[in-house]
Amino acid sequence: MGSIVLDNVSKTFGDAVVIPAIDLDIADGEFVVFVGPSGCGKSTLLRLIAGLEDVSGGRILIDGEDMTETPPARRRLAMVFQSYALYPHMSVRGNIAFPLKMAGLASDVVERKVADAARILNLTDYLDRKPRQLSGGQRQRVAIGRAIVRDPVAFLFDEPLSNLDAALRVAMRLEISELHQQLKRTMIYVTHDQVEAMTMADKIVVLNAGRVEQVGSPLELYRNPKNLFVAGFIGSPRMNFLSGEAARKLGAATIGIRPEHLALSTSDGLWEGKVGVAEHLGSDTYLHLTIDGVGPLTARMSGEFAARPGETLRIAPEAGKIHRFDDKGMALS
């Protein structure tokens, strides 16, 4: 019931073409993440789906029905805004009940649904507080509560976690994933954080300047990025890109190798590099190396790896894990 199809959707503001033309299929119950750098049109695309912005061309189908001209309220979508957009003069109860009141439900039904939502989101103790008396994470949950009571066909999230601190972000990430498993509803989630994208998504849509660069499951994008942009965007630390002689030997304009696919030793390896900075995270060690005639390289070693700055090491890329790209930046198979 919650399938969403974008058919050749475009959006321009005046002369500025923000989204040239996008085709996208989202299956019912899928958790889709839109990622991309700032200003690439993620929010705009989400607002087009929500109906808060009119499309300049193309069609939007929700549950097989053409909803391109339908006003937001009748698309049966719920949105969680980046600023939460809670109603400041209403209590938490009033906020969560608002969409139900607007739908004209009886007050005992409203009462029950609000209580259910509050229980799912651990808000029962805060129902009588005003939004300004809540912490960031609690406000976030109220915004989600307001979305789930409406029983929408799909949820839209616009960077819902970007105002939270790192620890809370990890916790809320998990909560939203659990909510998805519980409700089994379509969710579209916008973020510029590729870790959020990798951990939460069934399907990632990588956007760049309003264009879809690649669509696929997190591991698909990780294993087979279609082009340099996706290869550089997905994965942390970033993939190493090498051009010049090293790439030409493999018949490519650029080659890419992920930091975790490099083996370091004192004895053998393709390249020889000098250790610059070593970052010790405990679980991992990131080594920033410089290779003569090739360039800088980051290597990720599991666990604690003893390496002194200035030390010379041999570097061996794992066989079959080297990505090759042509001079237009497209992947070579």
């Binding site: 006003p71 805004f81 980046q82 109603y87 003069h89 307001r146």
Partner: protein, 290 residues
């Protein structure tokens, strides 16, 4: 950063201003209180004598007093109602994007810059005049008998004139409040299924509550002392139909030269203004502490 030291020096530095303001207020108030206890008429100089509360009894039992009190409250209430409701409507209109919005905004604000006497004269002679006025002309060309505003509806006429002057103020304050409403809140309400009316009632109005409180409080202070408009148009008449407390005090002092009676009236007006202020603060002031 209010340490003991900074607070002490802050007090010291504020002292001159506070003392000056206090003297500015206390001296006239004290003199008015003193005069209000005297039998003091300018037509009989040198005959001042102490009468106790006689002036107050005289003022409060004056048959015009009850009417004046009612007129004052009607004037303040009427103007407040028109400006707050009309101001909200105008602010909503001016918040919409339309062609020539800048010029229309300027026109709406213009009445605020016109002196009360001038605007009252313009209304009296150009708009409401039963023979030459614009309203009369409109009524006649539509086939109705023209209304003689100041003879038949004197208080309403004055309410309209004063409301016209204060409408821009209310509009301006409410417009800025409206523009500070978070766009995402309106969008969220829209997605929650609230139509235009529900969005206004549940989102916009509560957001405007504080600004409305400010408008009501400030306007009340000024409206309690409306004077020029009455003097220029009706002179408090016909009879006492447009006599307010302020105007009654003026009549005592400058038409009957009764300084004692006028002072007593002034004190009564101060007390009344304070009662109104207490009521207002009780009623709507809680919107402000947040």
């Amino acid at each position: 950063m209010a340490t003991l030291h900074t607070r002490a020096s802050a007090r010291l530095m504020m002292a001159p201003a506070v003392i000056l303001l206090l003297a500015w207020m206390i001296v006239p108030l004290g003199m008015t209180l003193y005069f209000s206890l005297l039998r003091y008429n300018l037509l009989m100089p040198g005959m001042e004598s102490f009468t106790g509360l006689g002036n107050y009894v005289y003022f409060l039992t004056d048959p015009a007093f009850g009417t004046a009190l009612a007129n004052t409250l009607l004037l303040v209430g009427g103007v407040l109602a028109i400006t707050v409701i009309g101001g909200t409507g105008l602010a909503l209109l001016l918040d919409q994007p339309f062609f020539g919005r800048g010029i229309v905004r300027l026109l709406v604000i213009a009445p605020f810059f016109v002196m009360p006497t001038v605007s009252a004269l313009v209304w009296k002679t150009m708009l409401m005049h039963p023979v030459n006025g614009l309203f009369a002309w409109i009524a006649r060309s539509l086939g109705f008998a023209p209304v003689d505003w100041f003879a038949d509806l004197p208080l309403l006429s004055i309410i309209l004139i004063v409301a016209w002057q204060w409408l821009p103020f209310a509009t301006l304050i409410l417009l800025t409040a409206l523009q500070s409403l978070d766009e995402e809140q309106k969008e969220a309400a829209e997605m929650d299924g609230a139509g235009a009316v529900s969005r206004f009632v549940y989102i916009v109005l509560p957001h405007l509550a504080r600004a409305m409180t400010v408008v009501v409080l400030i306007e009340t202070i000024f409206l309690l002392s409306v004077f020029a408009e009455i003097l220029v148009t009706t002179n408090g008449g016909p009879g006492v139909q447009t006599t307010t407390i302020t105007y009654l005090v003026y009549m005592q002092a400058l038409l009957q030269f009764d300084v004692g009676g006028a002072s007593a009236g002034g004190i009564v007006a101060v007390v009344l203004a304070n009662i109104v202020a207490i009521f207002l603060i009780r009623l709507i002031g809680k919107n402000l502490d947040r």
